[in-house]
């Protein structure tokens, strides 16, 4: 039963995985081969770009696409608990988000390890990208689960990102916050991995785990209630 659900999600999302791999790994391969800029620039661009692009791409299609084409009703009427369907969707979404970033990491290590950067210096930004992409996917799905179309789910994802961004700006301006935005938003992950500010890492990880868990519970609950809305 779970295998069948995974198969369906895999068939629906494998093209996004392929697209993400071709786009990001192509960028890394060309960038590292041409050496127009420093290797660190390519690595950081691939890690940050991939961690924002992939969750947007995947999050739009995970639930909203099925709602808009009407097949979600059939899925929810099957003799499977809705939380299992949701869990499989999130697992496949995570795999598709993370896959291209991990692919870029392997490619970067193969092409540029020990050249300008050590292997560990290459790995750390990509690990940050992996973590950021998972957090962004969780936030995006949680807030866009009731959206009736992919476009609107995408807008919700962009809005979530912009809210984080404004929180950081406010924090930097010292108007409202006191550095806590780095912990509440996943930008703290990049602060740790890119700026090597490891002091806040335990706090960032624990806060993001708690927020992520709460958001997933909320999203799973709302996913099971999607039939309640009047079509």
């Amino acid at each position: 039963m779970i295998k069948a659900l995974f198969w369906k999600e895999w068939c629906e999302h494998r093209w996004k995985l392929a697209y993400g791999c071709v786009l990001l790994m192509g960028f890394v391969a060309v960038g590292l081969r041409s050496r127009i800029v420093q290797d660190a620039v390519i690595v950081v661009f691939a890690a940050v770009g991939g961690s924002v692009l992939m969750p947007l791409l995947v999050g739009m299609g995970l639930v909203a696409a099925e709602r808009s084409d009407g097949s979600l009703e059939m899925l929810l009427a099957l003799p499977v608990r809705s939380w299992k369907i949701f869990a499989v969707k999130m697992a496949m979404g995570t795999l598709v988000c993370v896959g291209p970033i991990v692919g870029c990491m392997v490619l970067s290590l193969a092409m540029a390890a020990g050249r300008e950067m050590s292997a560990s210096r290459i790995i750390v930004p990509y690990l940050g990208g992996v973590a950021f992409s998972i957090v962004m996917l969780v936030w995006m799905v949680a807030f866009s689960i009731r959206q009736p179309s992919e476009a609107r789910a995408g807008l919700v994802g962009i809005a979530v990102f912009m809210v984080w961004f404004f929180m950081i700006i406010l924090d930097e301006s010292a108007w409202l916050l006191d550095g806590s935005s780095l912990v509440i938003t996943p930008f703290g992950i990049f602060d740790c991995t890119l700026d090597r500010n490891y002091d806040i890492l335990p706090k960032v990880i624990s806060v993001q785990l708690v927020i992520g868990f709460c958001l997933m519970m909320w999203a799973a609950y709302r996913f099971g209630k999607l039939g309640r809305t009047k079509e």
């Binding site: 039963m1 295998k3 069948a4 198969w7 369906k8 068939c11 629906e12 084409d69 009407g70 097949s71 009703e73 059939m74 929810l76 009427a77 099957l78 003799p79 499977v80 608990r81 039939g227 309640r228 809305t229 009047k230």
Partner: protein, 301 residues
């Protein structure tokens, strides 16, 4: 006495402040083909979704095949065949793929029976679902609802969007496949003429309540349209069961339920008119009388 296949008691449901079901009571006898009628927005689909545990009712209870539709949700879905209104499936899958995929969720899936159905329903196994015609799509949805050989099948407006030929074809398949096997079919529709030839029982849902439930034949026999001619006034309040009163040129047409000799005499007496004709009605006209009938306003002859 056999337990009814479906039993609904005091069912209430609201979408926010909008009350859709306002105390639905219904019993569907086992082995029957049951037509669940109602105009658009009357609450048919909501009732069906509650039966399948897709929605939680505000009040009331449903039992389907002896199972509580809220407590035994998975058991209900495994044992009942369900075809949704305008069912959308995964367009990228091929017919054979979607059949195998859906089958993997049902322990009692009968692949041999399904293969026979594929031939019988003339479905192209290699075609993508998105390339099927509306008629083929409906037949595929029917096949997926029947593959685990359920004893109860719920069809929610299954012919929605089909042209008349495809509708007739579809009903022919439904009757051929289900009527002879003792399967209970709960069939919702707002197209009366398609229910009439197939349903043993009908219930009319209007504005969130069941306004009539009866055997189809009994309903047809008990509801009549009588034509009156004379110089009096129709005072329908004096006679119970008047559904509609309408002027027709020089006569008055009164549609009345539970029509019998006593009512005939009462109408003639109270209206001081003569009954010139009694007309049998089809289900469409009966439905219309129940749902939009004026319940007998005073009409001058």
């Amino acid at each position: 006495m056999n337990e009814p296949a479906i039993k609904i008691e005091g069912l209430r449901f609201s979408y926010g402040r909008e009350e859709v079901l306002r105390g639905v009571d219904l019993e569907v006898p086992a082995g029957s083909i049951f037509g669940f009628l109602g105009p658009n927005g009357s609450g048919k689909t909501t009732t069906i979704k509650i039966l399948l545990g897709l929605l939680k009712p505000g009040a009331g209870a449903c039992r389907i095949g002896g199972l509580d539709s809220q407590k035994d949700v998975m058991a209900v879905r495994r044992s009942v065949g369900y075809m949704a209104e305008d069912q959308q499936m995964f367009g990228w899958m091929r017919v054979g793929q979607i059949i195998r995929w859906v089958g993997s969720f049902y322990p009692g899936w009968d692949q041999k029976f399904v293969e026979e159905l594929v031939d019988l329903l003339e479905l192209p196994s290699d075609a993508r679902v998105k390339n099927l015609s509306k008629g083929q799509n409906s037949r595929l949805a029917l096949l997926l609802a029947l593959g685990h050989r359920p004893k109860i099948v719920i069809l929610d407006d299954p012919t929605l969007g089909l042209d008349p030929i495809a509708r007739k074809d579809f009903l022919r398949y439904v009757i051929g496949l289900l009527q002879s096997n003792g399967v209970t079919v709960f069939f919702s529709s707002h197209l009366l003429y398609e229910i009439e030839p197939v349903a043993d029982y009908v219930a009319i849902l209007n504005d969130g309540v069941i306004i009539k439930a009866a055997k189809t034949d009994e309903l047809r026999q008990s509801v009549k349209k009588i034509l009156l001619r004379g110089a009096g006034d129709i005072e329908p309040g004096g006679v119970g069961g008047i559904l509609d009163v309408a002027r027709m040129r020089e006569s008055i047409a009164v549609t009345i339920e539970d029509y019998n000799q006593m009512k005939r005499e009462a109408i003639e007496k109270t209206s001081r008119c003569a009954i010139v004709d009694e007309v049998d009605l089809n289900l469409d006209e009966i439905f219309e009388a129940y749902v939009i009938g004026n319940r007998g306003q005073k009409v001058k002859v």
